[in-house]
């Protein structure tokens, strides 16, 4: 057992480090920039990566990728994270949308048109899946696409679309046949977010930020050449995308404070019975946070080890997001509890308090995004433990009838 790179991995890491060191001066601090500046910074960094061959590391060479290994991608991500490179703008597009485009696009022309431009960072993508009536029950979407000659006409509404306000294109799941059961009547398309009839309205989140949006489609026309996969195969196609999403959403956000911050905060607080860090109940909570926080990092290392040695990783990584989000929430609540009433005050001068307050608010969203706690427990129970699936009364009847069940 060891935590060292293999010789090959070490060589790749050295190469990556050298490149990042040579180019990191061009990374602008995101904290102080406006949204427009943040987008400019992200685009500049992406262009540099593209030039150097660090985009699509695991993608096939035929689509412009590097044909590399999952380990190389992991190593690049680790090194990139150390310099706080601005990568968020492309997480969805390159993490989920473009792999769907090159896996399910109908012609080489489509891949040639969209993939390289997206890799360079010149076009930004979003995924349009969730709807007001289809969140956890994603296959219950109602946005319609109806054929009209060699085009489709899309009408409906999407919601929780991250980055739609910054995007040039999106992949959209639509219902093309309501007369068949819900998973069977879906079809996916590439949609131009600047096309007539697409309206993006930002949603203000309870955290105060606006990362996602409502997107309305009114008679939006899409060419049949921009379909992804066969008509009626949209659910299968979307599983490709979602598989990538769960990997992307799994880790702990860089902004979230950890166990060491909790210790520093506790040390700074004197309770009636003495210093907070000396109290048994405080120490129990810190240890519990450590078990979860460090436990997820170690679990990730088991997965990486499997990849590194050419084995198929076990299902252990399925626990990641649920533990990360709940630990963030528990730690945020406990950290502010320690501060008594001062825990309420924004900007109060206690170590890391502001970050705990922020991560307490943000964690409520993380427990929902990319699969709720409940959906993830279902996945663990059904796919890992092999338990029977939930009762789904709408599963085998035409969607048009299923919508009347409620």
């Amino acid at each position: 057992m060891d935590f060292e790179d293999t010789a090959e991995e070490a060589a790749y890491r050295a190469k990556v480090r050298e490149w990042i060191n040579a180019n990191k001066a061009s990374i602008r601090a995101e904290d102080h920039s406006s949204r427009a500046e943040a987008v400019t910074a992200a685009k500049a960094w992406q262009a540099l990566k593209y030039e150097a061959g660090y985009v699509g590391i695991t993608w096939p060479k035929a689509v412009g990728g590097q044909g590399g290994t999952a380990m190389q991608q992991i190593i690049f991500n680790q090194e990139e994270a150390k310099v706080n490179a601005p990568t968020g703008l492309y997480a969805i597009g390159l993490g989920m949308c473009i792999p769907t485009v090159f896996s399910h696009g109908l012609s080489p022309d489509i891949a040639a048109r969209y993939v390289p431009v997206a890799m360079k960072g010149e076009e930004v993508w979003c995924q349009l899946f969730s709807e007001p009536a289809a969140g956890s029950d994603l296959a219950g979407i109602r946005t319609r696409a109806e054929p009209d000659g060699d085009e489709w006409v899309i009408n409906g509404q999407k919601v929780w679309t991250s980055g739609a306000h910054l995007s040039d294109f999106g992949i959209v799941v639509t219902r093309t046949d309501p007369s068949v059961p819900k998973h069977k009547g879906l079809t996916m398309f590439i949609v131009d977010m600047k096309a007539p009839g697409v309206e993006v309205r930002p949603i203000k989140q309870m955290s105060g930020g606006s990362e996602f949006n409502e997107v309305f489609f009114t008679d939006v026309r899409v060419k049949d050449t921009h379909r992804l996969g066969a008509v009626g195969e949209g659910w299968k196609v979307s599983l490709t995308t979602l598989m990538h999403e769960r990997l992307a959403v799994g880790g702990k956000p860089a902004s979230a404070p950890g166990v060491q911050e909790m210790i520093e905060l506790a040390k700074a607080i004197d309770l009636e019975e003495g210093n907070a860090l000396e109290q048994s109940h405080v120490r129990n909570q810190i240890a519990e946070a450590y078990i979860n926080d460090r436990g997820i990092a170690l679990t990730r290392m088991r997965t990486i080890s499997a990849l590194s040695s050419g084995r198929t990783p076990g299902p252990e990584s399925s626990i990641s997001k649920i533990v990360v989000a709940n630990t963030m929430q528990d730690m945020g609540a406990f950290a502010s509890d320690l501060c008594e009433s001062a825990g309420l005050i924004s900007g109060e001068n206690l170590p890391h308090l502001a970050r705990f307050q922020g991560s307490y608010i943000g964690s409520a969203g993380l427990r929902i995004a990319g699969g709720t706690d409940e959906i993830l427990r279902n996945i663990i129970a059904e796919r890992v433990l092999g338990l029977p699936s939930d009762i789904r009364p709408d599963k085998d009847i035409p969607f048009s009838e299923a919508t009347r069940l409620s």
Partner: protein
């Protein structure tokens, strides 16, 4: 990165699991509980024949000289099977204590016997409400010890004891004058315990003093974490099997979210415990500076996982799970034994934080 067990260790796991499934199903634990015997001697003889007791003993002393990783694998498998043998006491604890703190003479005397099964060892750490490694009331002077140790698991089977005192570990032979062994009943009806009363009993100091005692506690924490992890997984699997079979309200209960989500939570806790146990195994193997933290983390995570799995296993079985005939009680009781026999979760949580406070370096991994 190689944060997994080697192919050889995994092959040993497969072999051990097949053997224990064949020879040590839970009827063996029940038979020992019902008969009141100290352990299943026939099963123990087969385990000795497989070389499990010789695993870590150096080759020059008649052992196999394998690494602690192989021992972790066996700890997990024996914990899984709830095998009624003194494996924990003799192999995971006494043998490791000798390897860590034995003098050359003590090693030469006892390790060959432990390896070939002609002797069984046990450890006597506990003194009522005191924390192991904490303040001991044992008085030791002139090579003689007086005081009490309780509960001491497998004392009836043991030929010698390794006892903890304020200044380190001592070796006490079963035949020593002034040693009385009396039964105590504990919550665990399979792994039996006793009270040792020492009255000027001759003891031999082991090497390394408090530092060796501390190192032994860390090793024990990690090995017992693997044992607990095995039990936690087995309890979870017992629940999953039942949930796939039991019908209520017209369908298998495993299809209801109240049930399946609890089982998913068991899986989550067991995976976290597994990752921490592996971290402990790595730290033990490499003698990493992280060892004290990794040991404490492994122990806390394993206690937590086993307790949850054992409690919810009874709950998910409903009334049948609370009967004497159900195997649920074995996990429920064993989880407590492991939680309390080396210092409680609160004590080891405190150790986690103490080690985190002292950290001024990033994690190696």
């Amino acid at each position: 990165m190689n944060f997994q067990f080697s192919d050889e260790a995994e092959a040993l796991r497969d072999q051990a699991r097949r053997f224990l499934e064949d020879k040590s199903d839970r009827t063996k634990a029940r038979a020992v509980m019902n008969s009141g015997s100290s352990h299943d001697a026939a099963l123990w003889a087969e385990i000795v024949a497989l070389g499990w007791t010789a695993l870590r003993v150096p080759e020059e002393l008649g052992g196999l000289g394998l690494s602690v990783l192989e021992l972790c694998v066996l700890a997990e498998e024996v914990g899984r099977a709830l095998s009624p043998v003194p494996f924990t006491s003799s192999v995971l604890l006494a043998t490791e204590a000798l390897l860590i703190a034995g003098t050359d003479a003590q090693k030469a005397k006892w390790l060959p016997k432990l390896a070939d099964g002609s002797a069984i060892g046990a450890v006597a750490l506990a003194e009522g409400t005191a924390v192991p490694g904490g303040k001991s009331k044992l008085s030791i002077a002139g090579g003689q010890a007086s005081g009490q140790k309780a509960p001491v698991a497998d004392a009836h089977s043991a030929d010698f004891f390794i006892i903890s005192a304020n200044d380190g570990l001592y070796l006490l032979e079963k035949s020593a004058a002034g040693l009385t062994i009396g039964d105590v009943e504990t919550i665990d009806l399979v792994r039996r315990s006793s009270r040792l009363t020492l009255s000027n009993a001759p003891v031999e100091a082991m090497a390394g003093g408090r530092e060796a005692l501390e190192r032994f506690l860390q090793s024990a924490a990690i090995l017992l974490a693997f044992e607990g992890l095995g039990g936690a997984d087995a309890a979870m699997e017992m629940s999953v099997t039942y949930a796939k079979d039991r019908v209520a309200f017209g369908r298998k209960i495993g299809g209801y979210q109240a049930v399946k989500h609890r089982l998913a939570d068991m899986y989550i806790k067991n995976q976290l415990a597994r990752s921490h146990a592996y971290y402990g195994a790595w730290a033990l193997l490499t003698n990493a500076p992280e060892l004290p933290l990794a040991a404490a983390g492994a122990r806390v995570a394993a206690i937590d996982a086993y307790q949850f799995a054992a409690e919810e296993n009874v709950q998910l079985h409903g009334g049948i799970g609370f009967t004497w005939e159900s195997d649920c009680q074995f996990f429920y009781r064993r989880a407590r034994t492991l939680a309390l026999s080396l210092g409680s979760k609160t004590h080891w949580s405190d150790r986690v934080v103490r080690n985190l406070e002292q950290r001024n370096m990033p994690f190696a991994a």
